[in-house]
C-alpha cells in the first residue's frame, strides 16, 4: 500500500507539470488584455506603459519559468513563514505572485476567499450527501413506490433546472416577496453570538439549498441504480437465507457494495467544492473562489486564473488517488501492490 502510494504520488509530478504548462500556454495565447476595461479616454501609450509595468513585455518562456518559481518556491515559502513564524532567507525581497487587478498577492486573495466557499459549497455538499444516499437506497428498495416516484421527479427537476434559474427564483420568492432571507451574502458578517449565528444561517440557506438541490439529484440517481444492481445478486440472497433482518442485509451488505461508484462520484466532487460554485456565488454575491475566478477571467487577470485552475488540477489528481485508496477499504478484494 505504502509503495503504491509513493508510486502514484511520483507519477503525479510530471502530470502536474504538463498540466501547468498547458494552462499557462492556453491562457497566454488567448486574446485578452488587462487594460481592456480601462475607459477609452486613457490614451493607447499609457495603456502600453501599464502592460509593461505588469511584466507583459517579456518573452513567453521567461514568464513561464518566473511563474513556476513564484508558484512552487516563493509562495510555499511564504505560507510556511506565515504559519510557523520562522524567517527563511531574504523574505522581504522575494518576488511574489501578484494579481493584475488588485496588485495584491494571489495567495492572499485565495486564502481570504476559501472559508466562504468551504462554508457554502461544502455545507451544500454535505447536505446533499446526507439526503441523497438514504433517499437513493429507499428508492431502490421500494422501487416504483410513491417515495421512488417522488425522488425521481425531485431528481429530474434538480438535474435539469440550472442553478442560475433556481437561484433567481429562490431570491424572487423568498427575498423579494416573502422577505424571509437576504438576497445576498453579507461577507463582512461575523458570528459572535446567537443572534448573529441565526443571521448567518439565514443568509446561507438560499445558496445552500440551491446548490444542494442540484447535487442531491445526481447523487440520488447514482445510489439508486447502484443499489438496484446489487439487490438481485447471489450474495444478497445468501444473506437473506441466513435469516438476517432486512435492514441488516441492506445497510451492511448491499449498501457497502453499492457505495463504490458513489464514492468515486463523491470524491471527485470534492475538488469542485474548492472550485466554488461560479454561478451560485455570483448570484448571491458570495466572495468565494468561484466568484474570484469569474472576476479574474472578466478582467484578464491571468495570474489569478492560472493559479486557481492549477490548484483545481492538483486537487483533482489528489482526490482521484484518495478515491482509489477508499475502494480498498470498501472492498477487501481490491489490493494495491
Amino acid at each position: 500500500m505504502g509503495r503504491y502510494l509513493i508510486r502514484r504520488l511520483l507519477t503525479a509530478i510530471p502530470t502536474l507539470i504538463a498540466i501547468s504548462f498547458v494552462i499557462f500556454a492556453i491562457l497566454d495565447l488567448a486574446p485578452s488584455d488587462p487594460t481592456g476595461n480601462l475607459p477609452l479616454t486613457i490614451p493607447p501609450e499609457v495603456k502600453q506603459q501599464i502592460r509593461e509595468s505588469l511584466g507583459l513585455g517579456q518573452p513567453f518562456h521567461i514568464r513561464y519559468l518566473k511563474w513556476m518559481q513564484q508558484f512552487f518556491i516563493t509562495e510555499p515559502l511564504n505560507i510556511l513563514e506565515e504559519t510557523t513564524g520562522i524567517t527563511i532567507g531574504d523574505s522581504e525581497s522575494r518576488f511574489r505572485l501578484r494579481s493584475w487587478q488588485t496588485r495584491g498577492p494571489v495567495i492572499d486573495l485565495i486564502v481570504e476567499r476559501m472559508p466562504q466557499t468551504l462554508w457554502v459549497v461544502g455545507l451544500a455538499y454535505l447536505v446533499s450527501v446526507i439526503i441523497a444516499i438514504p433517499l437513493g437506497v429507499i428508492s431502490a428498495v421500494k422501487q416504483y413506490s410513491w417515495v421512488d416516484q417522488a425522488g425521481t421527479i425531485f431528481s429530474m427537476i434538480g438535474f435539469s433546472v440550472p442553478t442560475f434559474f433556481t437561484g433567481l427564483l429562490a431570491i424572487i420568492i423568498f427575498s423579494v416577496h416573502l422577505g424571509w432571507f437576504p438576497s445576498f451574502y453579507d461577507t463582512t458578517h461575523q458570528v459572535t453570538d446567537w443572534e448573529s449565528f441565526v443571521f448567518q444561517i439565514k443568509q446561507i440557506i438560499l445558496p445552500v439549498s440551491v446548490l444542494a438541490l442540484f447535487q442531491t439529484a445526481t447523487l440520488n440517481r447514482f445510489t439508486r441504480s447502484s443499489v438496484l444492481d446489487n439487490l438481485p445478486q447471489d450474495y444478497v440472497r445468501t444473506v437473506r437465507a441466513k435469516g438476517f433482518r432486512e435492514y441488516y442485509v441492506i445497510l451492511v451488505h448491499v449498501l457497502r457494495n453499492s457505495l463504490i461508484p458513489v464514492v468515486t462520484l463523491v470524491a471527485l466532487g470534492i475538488p469542485t467544492i474548492f472550485g466554488g460554485a461560479i454561478i451560485t456565488e455570483q448570484i448571491f454575491r458570495i466572495n468565494g473562489l468561484g466568484a474570484l475566478l469569474i472576476i479574474a477571467i472578466q478582467g484578464s487577470d491571468i495570474p489569478v486564473v492560472q493559479s486557481l485552475t492549477f490548484i483545481f488540477a492538483v486537487l483533482i489528481v489528489l482526490f482521484n488517488l484518495i478515491a482509489d485508496v477508499i475502494y480498498g477499504f470498501l472492498d477487501p478484494r481490491i489490493h494495491y501492490n
Binding site: 486574446p31 488584455d33 488587462p34 481592456g36 476595461n37 480601462l38 475607459p39 477609452l40 479616454t41 486613457i42 493607447p44 499609457v46 506603459q49 509593461e52 509595468s53 505588469l54 511574489r96 501578484r98 493584475w100 487587478q101 488588485t102 496588485r103 495584491g104 498577492p105 492572499d108 486573495l109 481570504e112 476567499r113 446526507i130 439526503i131 438514504p134 433517499l135 428498495v141 417515495v147 431570491i171 427575498s175 423579494v176 416573502l178 422577505g179 424571509w180 432571507f181 437576504p182 438576497s183 445576498f184 461577507t187 463582512t188 441565526v198 440557506i205 433482518r245 432486512e246 435492514y247 445497510l251 455570483q282 448570484i283 454575491r285 466572495n287 466568484a291 474570484l292 472576476i295 478582467g299
Partner: protein
C-alpha cells in the same frame, strides 16, 4: 422488517428537513432592521444638503458656537450606508485602478484639490478658490497654475495636508516605470513647486489654456507623501498595504478591504467639517450583475445605493414601481454614434483597405457624397431608439459634443425628427436611384450596400436591427456585423476586426471625454489623428475625414483661454462635424443609478465620482 428500515431512514430525512426549515423561521426581521438608529437622527438632519459647494458651508460653520455644538450630535448619528457597485473594487489606489469602480470606491477616502459638481462646474475642495488668470492663480502666459490649500486640513492619521503631498502625488504618477493610468491628466507638467506649506505651483512646459488637468476630479486625487514615499516606480505594484488602505482627507477611512468584494469605511475623526458625515459606517459591496443590483435597492430595499444600472428600460421601470427606491440619471458626454468611413474598405484593395494618406485619400465609392450621408442620418428615428432601447439611460441627440451645457450646440436639432420621405427625395434629386429594380439605389453603378459593424451587446444589436429597417425604406441595403467588445476595442494591430482598422462602411460605438473640457476630444478629428498602418493604427479619427479648416479651429482653440471663446469654438467644430455628417450621433447616454427613498442628499454626478458628496448624505424616515 422492510418497514422498519423505511421508517428509520425516512424519519432521519424528515428530521433534517424540519431542522433546516425551523432554523429559517424565527423572525422575518430583515425589513425593519435599518429603522431604529434613524428615528432620532432624522429631525436633526438638514433637508437641503448644502446647495452651494464648500464656500457656503465654510461661512456658515464659522460664526456661532451653537452650530458647533449641534454638530457634535450630527456626526455619525446615522446607521450604516450600504452602497452596491456590481463590479467590485479591486484596489483603492486610483492610480493603479482597472476602471471606474475602483476610482469611485477610492473617492470616498481620497480627494482632489478641486472637484466637479453635478453641473460640471469646478468646486474648490481642498483649496481656497479656483485659480484663474483674473485672480492671479494662473500665470498670464498660461504656463503655471498656483493652488492655495485651505488651512487646517488634516489627513485621517492627524498629520497636516501640505503642498508637499501635491508635489509628491505628481512625481508618483509621472514615474514611467509605474504604469500610472492618470498620467494623461499630467500632460505637459514639468514640475510642481512647493512655495510654502499651503501653496503649490504647477509648471507646464507649454501654455495651457485649460490648466485644470492635474488634481481636479476623482481620477487624480492627492496621496499622502508619508504613506506612499517608498512606493515609487515599479515598487508601486508591491505596496499592497498602502494600495488597499490609503490614508485620505475624505469623510471616511477604510477599516476593512476585501479585494474584489467589499470595502468597509468608518468616519475619519479628523475630517474638516465637524458636522459631517452623517452615516457612522459605509459598506461598499461588489458582485452580481446590474439587474440584481437594481433589485436590491428598488425591490428588496436591502441596499441604499446602486451604481451603473444599464438594464432594459421595461425591467427597470417595473422594479421602480415597487416604490422603495428612485432611479437617478446624469448625462455626461457619452454619445452613441455612427462613424462613417470616408475611405474604401473594399477587401479587393488588400493592404490599402480603409487606408488614408495625403497623397491618396482612397475615397469611399458613395459615402464621400454628402447627400448619401445626410439621407442616412435623416432616415433614423433617434427618439425611438432612445425610448425603446435606452429608457432612463438615454435621450436623442444631434451633436457629438452634447455637454456641458455651454458647449452644446442647438444648430443641428432638425435631426431629431425622422424624415424618410425627405431622405428619399434628396437621393432622387441627386440622381442616386434604383436603376436595376432590386430595391437598392445605385450611385455611378455602385449599389448603396453598407457593412455596418459594432461590438457585441444586446442594445447595440437591437439598434442595428432598427436602423437597418429604416435604411431599407430609403433604398439602402445593409449587412450587420458584431465583434466581441474585447477584440473590437482591444486595439490589437494584428486583428482585422478592431474599431481602429474600420474594415466596414459604418461602425457604431460610444465615446466621451473625461472632465469638462472638450479640447482634446475635439482634436480627435484632426487629419493627423487618422489611423493608418504607419502609426500602428493608433489614432482617433475613425472616419478618416481630413479638413484643413477644422484643423485650423483645433489649433485656434489650443491658444484661446477665455471660457466663452472656447465654448464658441467648440460649438463651431461640433457643427462642422455634424453638418458634414462625418459622424451620425444617435443617443446621448446617461449614467443610471438608483438610491433608496430614505436616502437624502444624493446629487448624481457624472463629471466626478458619484460618491463625491457622500459627506452630505443623510437618511430620513419615510
Amino acid at each position: 422488517m422492510k418497514r422498519n428500515l423505511f421508517l428509520f431512514i425516512s424519519a432521519t430525512v424528515a428530521l433534517m428537513l424540519m431542522a433546516a426549515c425551523g432554523a429559517a423561521q424565527p423572525q422575518p426581521a430583515t425589513e425593519s432592521e435599518p429603522a431604529p438608529a434613524t428615528e432620532e437622527a432624522a429631525p436633526a438632519a438638514p433637508a437641503e444638503p448644502a446647495e452651494e459647494s464648500a464656500e457656503t458651508t465654510e461661512t456658515e460653520a464659522e460664526p456661532a458656537e451653537e452650530a458647533a455644538e449641534s454638530a457634535e450630535t450630527m456626526r455619525g448619528s446615522g446607521d450604516t450606508l450600504n452602497i452596491l457597485y456590481w463590479q467590485a473594487a479591486s484596489t483603492l489606489n486610483p492610480y493603479l485602478s482597472g476602471g471606474t469602480k475602483d476610482i469611485e470606491a477610492a473617492s470616498v477616502i481620497l480627494e482632489p484639490l478641486a472637484r466637479y459638481d453635478e453641473n460640471g462646474n469646478m468646486v474648490p475642495w481642498l483649496v481656497e478658490e479656483i485659480p484663474t488668470v483674473e485672480n492671479g492663480g494662473v500665470a498670464e502666459d498660461l504656463t503655471s497654475i498656483t493652488w492655495k490649500i485651505k488651512e487646517g486640513i488634516l489627513w485621517s492619521d492627524g498629520t497636516p495636508f501640505t503642498a508637499e503631498d501635491v508635489k509628491f502625488s505628481a512625481e508618483y504618477c509621472l514615474n514611467e516605470e509605474m504604469g500610472c493610468n492618470a498620467v494623461s491628466y499630467l500632460t505637459d507638467v514639468e514640475s510642481v513647486e512647493v512655495i510654502d506649506d499651503l501653496t503649490a505651483k504647477i509648471n507646464f512646459g507649454v501654455p495651457k489654456p485649460f490648466p485644470y488637468g492635474p488634481f481636479v476630479g476623482a481620477e487624480i486625487p492627492v496621496l499622502q507623501k508619508a504613506q506612499f514615499e517608498d512606493c515609487m516606480g515599479a515598487k508601486a505594484q508591491e505596496c499592497t498595504e498602502q494600495n488597499f488602505a490609503p490614508i485620505g482627507t475624505g469623510a471616511y477611512k477604510v477599516t476593512d478591504f476585501k479585494a474584489n468584494d467589499v470595502v468597509v469605511y468608518e468616519i475619519n475623526e479628523n475630517y474638516r467639517d465637524p458636522d459631517k458625515p452623517y452615516f457612522s459606517q459605509v459598506i461598499f459591496k461588489g458582485g452580481g450583475d446590474a439587474a440584481a443590483a437594481a433589485r436590491s435597492v428598488l425591490e428588496t430595499g436591502e441596499m441604499d445605493y446602486a451604481w451603473n444600472l444599464q438594464i432594459e428600460p421595461q425591467i427597470l421601470d417595473s422594479m421602480a414601481a415597487a416604490g422603495k427606491g428612485k432611479v437617478v440619471t446624469a448625462y455626461g458626454t457619452s454619445v452613441e454614434r455612427l462613424m462613417v468611413n470616408f475611405t474604401n474598405p473594399d477587401p479587393a484593395l488588400g493592404d490599402l483597405r480603409s487606408v488614408w494618406s495625403e497623397a491618396d485619400p482612397n475615397p469611399h465609392p458613395f459615402l464621400t457624397d454628402p447627400v448619401v450621408r445626410q439621407a442616412l442620418s435623416m432616415a433614423i428615428d433617434r427618439e425611438a431608439i432612445a425610448t425603446q432601447l435606452y429608457g432612463a439611460g438615454g435621450k436623442p441627440t444631434c451633436n457629438v459634443l452634447p455637454a456641458p451645457e455651454v458647449y452644446a450646440s442647438t444648430a443641428n436639432d432638425g435631426c431629431l425628427v425622422q424624415d424618410i420621405e425627405g431622405a428619399n427625395a434628396l437621393l432622387d434629386e441627386a440622381g442616386i436611384v434604383d436603376s436595376d429594380g432590386d430595391g437598392i439605389r445605385e450611385k455611378d453603378g455602385v449599389p448603396l450596400q453598407i457593412l455596418y459593424q459594432t461590438s457585441t451587446n444586446s442594445v447595440r444589436q437591437s439598434t442595428q436591427a432598427l436602423v437597418k429597417q429604416w435604411w431599407e425604406q430609403i433604398g439602402v441595403g445593409s449587412e450587420l456585423r458584431n465583434v466581441d467588445a474585447g477584440v473590437f476595442f482591444g486595439g490589437d494591430p494584428s486583428s482585422p476586426d478592431t474599431f481602429q482598422k474600420f474594415f466596414a462602411d459604418i461602425e457604431m460605438y460610444t465615446n466621451n471625454f473625461s472632465g469638462t473640457d472638450p479640447e482634446s476630444y475635439m482634436a480627435n478629428w484632426l487629419c493627423s489623428e487618422i489611423p493608418t498602418p504607419d502609426n500602428q493604427w493608433i489614432g482617433n479619427n475613425m472616419p478618416r475625414w481630413c479638413n484643413a479648416d477644422y484643423d485650423a479651429l483645433v489649433a485656434q482653440m489650443a491658444e484661446t483661454a477665455g471660457l466663452e471663446d472656447r465654448a464658441e469654438l467648440a460649438k463651431q467644430m461640433n457643427d462642422m462635424l455634424m453638418q458634414n455628417f462625418v459622424m451620425i450621433p444617435l443617443v446621448h447616454r446617461g449614467d443610471v443609478s438608483a438610491h433608496s427613498v430614505t436616502l437624502e442628499g444624493v446629487r448624481m454626478n457624472t463629471w466626478d465620482s458619484e460618491l463625491w458628496n457622500i459627506a452630505d448624505w443623510t437618511r430620513t424616515e419615510q
